[in-house]
Symmetry: C2
Subunit: 306 residues, 2 copies
């Protein structure tokens, strides 16, 4: 089986490195960060922390090098989905493409370029500490399901889920993956920007009672937007938030949005809080706290330019 991970940042690297430990899977990693690509090809891709892995996916920044692939796993930042899939779609002419990205709306973008799309949500997190080396901060489950508008065949969804599970990334294939997806979007939108605005890790956001109260308001708005669409959350985002705050889980984890802010990179807020606000408008649900947080993060991004 050929799998191409499209966007080999922290989360993409977790998939690429783990899948590349399987004898029956050939893994390609497509990424524009040339130092990371060169390091992977020279020394392999190393994960440390929650799991220790060293494996040897083939990495490239040149989409033309990619062979035809059975599966794509898109793991770019949400704002780079369109460019990344436009460049690599040829490799998936006969394959299925899954997203494990943050936010709402990535499947729709993939479906503009490829025929068989897998809705996906993943909870593991980490950060690139140096080219070729990724700190694996937190383990977690992944869920895949056919994307309604351009669905991948369910047996293919199961095949990819099975490979990920065997590789050490526990993954379920389900018919409707919107529940976990919205649970994660709500989780991220309710916590990541608070870390980004304050500089606090996930655990410290959660142990600060006024911030924890704000998290709950954001969760409640998100739940109302999901409910208005008829989406049944697979479990309460509140539980996940408190679970992640445990010292042995992700107390000290800097949310990816905080990592972005510290590096003055554009964040994914448009696809998180912005997505919830937009879906709220479409389904008649008020989301004032998400609108406020969205505005603050966009303002922060604006401050980095004259």
């Amino acid at each position: 089986m050929n799998v191409c991970v499209v966007g080999c940042g922290a989360v993409g690297s977790l998939f690429a490195a783990n899948l590349a430990t399987l004898d029956d899977v050939e893994v390609w990693a497509y990424d524009l960060a040339q130092a990371h690509v060169a390091a992977i090809n020279r020394d392999g891709l190393r994960l440390t922390g929650a799991g220790e892995v060293l494996s040897h996916p083939r990495a490239t920044s040149d989409a033309a090098e990619l062979p035809p692939c059975d599966f794509g796993i898109v793991a770019t930042k949400a704002m780079h989905t369109s460019a990344a899939i436009a460049a690599t779609a040829h490799a998936f002419a006969d394959g299925c493409v899954a997203t494990v990205q943050n936010g709402i709306g990535n499947e729709e973008v993939l479906a503009e370029h490829v025929e068989r799309v897998i809705r996906g949500t993943t909870f593991p997190a980490g950060k690139i500490t140096s080219p070729g080396v990724v700190q694996w901060d937190v383990k977690g489950d992944t869920t895949f399901g056919p994307f309604d508008a351009k669905p991948a065949p369910f047996d293919q969804v199961q095949l990819l889920a099975d490979a990920c599970t065997r590789a050490g990334m526990p993954t379920k294939a389900v018919e409707d993956a919107r529940g976990p997806q919205w649970r994660k979007v709500i989780f991220n939108a309710a916590t990541n920007p608070l870390g980004a605005l304050t500089g606090l890790t996930h655990g410290r956001v959660c142990e600060h009672p006024p911030l924890r109260a704000l998290v709950t308001k954001l969760v409640d708005e998100g739940k109302a937007v999901a409910a208005a669409q008829g989406i049944e959350l697979d479990s309460d985002p509140e539980e996940l938030i408190d679970f992640a705050a445990r010292p042995e889980v992700a107390y000290g984890h800097k949310a990816s949005m905080l990592q972005d802010v510290e590096a003055r990179r554009q964040t994914e807020v448009d696809y998180l809080n912005g997505g919830i606000v937009e879906f709220g408008k479409r389904f008649g649900v008020e989301t004032p706290e998400h609108a406020a947080i969205w505005a603050l993060i966009k303002g922060m991004e604006a401050s980095w330019t004259q």
Copy 2:
């Protein structure tokens, strides 16, 4: 007339420097920043920008040096009011003490230490650029009025207002100074923390439509809390906000809270958004946006410590 400015930061320095230009006023500046005190005593206190002033108040960090004063003008950060007035109260045994500080609740603290208190609000702003030198960013009016619980005699309020006006700081004496005070608290609470959270100047906050919409929500909550107390605002804080955003007024001004955050100093948010939330609770008015902003700034302050 003897006047002691208690807390000679940016705003205190504007009062001290301007009042010290009057022949009939002797000005003392009490401040704990020894480099600033030394520079003032050596080279005088210099204002540049909106006005050019060089004058020679007497500065000290030792409250015991202060002579009996007719007036105090307290200009410390709100969280330092109690310590500052406890140290200097002896100088005002026969005098009146005004506050020109930000936020809600300063008069109450002064009244625990001195007998005649003047409620005050001032709009000029600036920043200390080096010891003894203050950049005067924006001119503006000051309002004084007797503090209900321990009022200064109205003729004394008028005397101080007159001196400030003659010195180039236009000041009105009024019977009820709560209107301007709440207008400024609402102005500050609706704009300063947004600058502090995003890094944007006042003007850039105002020209960012989603942030400007958040400003209006914060203003509306503040107006509701003022109205519930029977306070009549002297004018709409919205007008002041748009006025201040003009290039020739304070477009490029970094709010004092942003200056605090950049220097990792504790902010006055407890006395601004926190004050509005507390008064809201007392008077049965919901203030969810101020609560959210308060939580975010407190979280940011918490991030500066382990």
